[in-house]
Symmetry: D2
């Protein structure tokens, strides 16, 4: 992976955006190695992600940010400029299920996914051994159903304390308080099962089995105050047949969950996801 | 396709079903060329589909049916015995959209799907040309929103009159009256779009677009009085990205719809679908 | 589909390409509604597809082409500028199999795919009825195995004569002479089955069945002198199981073939495919 | 998972097989909970997998085996009768790549896959830590390119010594000697990349990238003396685009590899795979 600066922005659409951004980059000798643009005709909004080779510029990230500030201001951009060589700090939150965690740890350890694990937080102690084997700090924060707030205060304190940018709910199984979601807006990533049609209420896999669905899916999304209604980053499904019992559906669901979470997290870590309204643009 | 008699049945599960059925076939010299069994542990129910080579039996379908009647009775079977060489008579119902109809007609004409088209019924005249090119009878039955019953009475009359077994709603876009669904129970096949999550209400593709879904799907199911809630025969999805406008979602949805409908219809025509409660066993 | 001019080009990569192209568009008031860029690091090559709203420019296509000529020359671009409102003229070539043809005709008729059908050429008369129903000109050109050249001379004459840009081999089943491929370089689109692993020689479906493959695929590609080795536009697969006989594999293969051909043709018609060496960039 | 005895057999096809097998089971009070049959018309061969509830039989596995011996002999069956409660003993062989190993260990630890790990063998020491964290025995057996035989003699000795039934090459990257393959016939499971078309020779991912393939796949198969030509158990693919560099293809390939290996291994562990000639019947 070559060293680049990533410019990610969205703004009201108008003539000349690409050109003005390009001019600014080129004037400073910047070499664009990748660029994606998308304009949403419905609401006249423009989205862009541009990678500039870091060594083509005669200055550092901060200077690039300064040079872009006036244009960003003029065009009403939501702009981030990010150094591809700086790993994001991520807090992993887990419960008892291992499939997503084991998968992410292997991808992290083998450098397939590029990020720092600030720590792991869990309401159970089950995953401590695996996490400590990988040399990670593990916080056991009990979330008691009659008294959730103190628990989540501690979670928030830990996250703040370790300067994490991103929180990954790797089958955490607890509802994150709205205030925490807002504080880390579009930085909290969740994975949950999905079906066609959707099943509301308890034991969705049992409902899906009774209904005889032929596909089992998973959705990776940002967590907002509306629980599982946040912007979708990635989805996939797997085929199932009548011969699958409920526990087979659950097992097959796990495979999709971990794959979809890993893909969604990758898109997030590489700054490929732009949120607008309740939907996303994902530049793959 | 070799000539077989297909035994399709479901019944309460117990020891010895397969054996007793097999005995009866074998005693008469029957050669089982294919057999699928499934037992649903939750509700202790047994499902089976067996193909016997027609020329291995010294008698005709009717005799086979007679010989099985006592056992079917004893084991409380829902049993059908079907001649694979007898094409099912199908009524196609369409509106203005051509994609499912054109696809089915080509599969029928090229003998990829084996069935007779009794006639085509539509609330519009748009598809008359294509149907008549293929030599099919075309009924234009106006369904008026203030006065649906007379229209559907005519539909019912036509269907009854042509001895159809199966009705395929190939994007018919009208709600079939519950009485007609009941009369042709598990014989009326529909195709409709599906999303993860589901979108209730009008303009689902617009909702899906606003929500930024990454998959677009379709479900083929039997129509029951509960509209789109009937037993699912087949489902599939296709990937979409942010670059797809609403009309692209619709277009991609069409591709899934026609493929899923064709697969579901094939399973139905080959007597591979057994309905139990609100779900299906599909022996592929 | 809004009216745009599409600029499609590839050239040696260097600093400032996007900016210089963007400048030229913006100076003339052009509004970029979509843009995709890709640079291939291995061979330092740059690819781009830009859509400019036609009504944002004060002149016609020819003037735009003139204005771009010097820059294209300077940057060694392979550049095309295309009017999205001008349908490409396509010759369809078919044999006896109907699945791809029926599918394409429905997509064309329903305006899902935007192109003109100059004519249909076939070495058999089987498809004449369907084509004439759709109001198309149908040429029956016999290709005799001992005397192919005269047949293909006639084909070439017909194609030249109707000013076709694109030739679609919709299961034509004959090898196009290298000279004709060269004359219509990257304009002749073919669809053929694909397997993992590949099977060389006769009756590939029989080989695939004997080998017990679990996937059946199709590849849509440009035809070059190296037969089925040309640049790949699109591929897909479908799952199969041991219960599928050879004829089931063939049938499932047809479904993939027609879907993949339609997707590949769409990419071609919308000028989304750029060929470089023996591979393609497809901007979806 | 309920406790069953699994009867898996294949034999020349003839009238009455299912019935005679069923009779024998039923006479002894056996309750068939699942049954799959398949007959291959081409070569007149019959395949079957039957699960009988263990507690419906008044005797143990050995007695069941004895009672079936005469029928198996008479019908020329290749018959195995297996206790579902007895985990298979598996040797995992790995090199430096972690993705398949980490995935299998998590599936094993979480009891998603039911088997015993006899030990792990590797030609490198890299995976020792993870394996020992999971409490597994790890053998570092150097395979030297000039002197492979002593290394593989040691491997064979270890495998024999620990009474393993199954060997899983989880990206082992070394060619297993034919003699060892023969000794553990249809018990050595491998996973390798697959492409459409296939690429012969070195660096297949580089070849695939140069050719611009749109799908990357993996094949799980039994290892035979013909290297990667053994009977296929499972396959799958993932879509790729031109924006994927060689290292992205490799990364996406890993995801398919580990999923396909896990699915293939599950089928093997549950005795769902029957090999005939060079192909498999997989009863899912």
């Amino acid at each position: 992976m070559s060293h680049t600066y990533r410019l990610i922005f969205d703004c009201p659409d108008q003539v000349g955006i690409v050109t003005r951004v390009g001019d600014l980059i080129t004037q400073n000798g910047g070499w664009i190695s990748q660029a994606n643009h998308h304009s949403e005709a419905d609401n006249n909004w423009f989205f862009s992600r541009i990678e500039v080779k870091a060594d083509s510029l005669p200055f550092e990230l901060e200077t690039l940010q300064e040079k872009f500030a006036p244009l960003a201001n003029e065009l009403n951009m939501n702009l981030r400029i990010v150094d591809s060589a700086a790993p994001k700090r991520v807090v992993l939150m887990v419960s008892k299920g291992t499939h997503c965690l084991a998968d992410l740890l292997d991808r992290w350890k083998s450098k397939e996914l590029f990020f720092d694990i600030a720590c792991v937080i869990s309401n159970h102690n089950d995953m401590r051994g695996l996490c400590e084997f990988y040399g990670l700090k593990y916080h056991h924060v009990v979330i008691d159903k009659d008294n959730k707030q103190p628990g989540f205060d501690e979670v928030e304190h830990i996250v703040d304390d370790c300067n994490a940018e991103t929180i990954v709910l790797a089958r955490y199984m607890q509802i994150i308080p709205p205030a925490l979601c807002l504080k880390y807006k579009y930085q909290v990533i969740n994975i949950h099962h999905s079906f066609l049609p959707s099943f509301i209420g308890a034991r969705p896999y049992h409902q899906a089995h009774r209904r005889g669905v032929k596909l089992i899916g998973a959705t990776c999304h940002y967590v907002t105050e509306q629980l599982d209604e946040g912007p979708i980053i990635e989805q996939d499904v797997v085929r199932v047949s009548h011969s699958a019992a409920v526990e087979d559906l659950v097992r097959l669901g796990k495979d999709v969950e971990k794959t979809v979470l890993a893909r969604g997290l990758r898109a997030h870590l590489e700054d490929r996801v732009l949120v607008h309204g309740n939907s996303t643009v994902v530049f793959n």
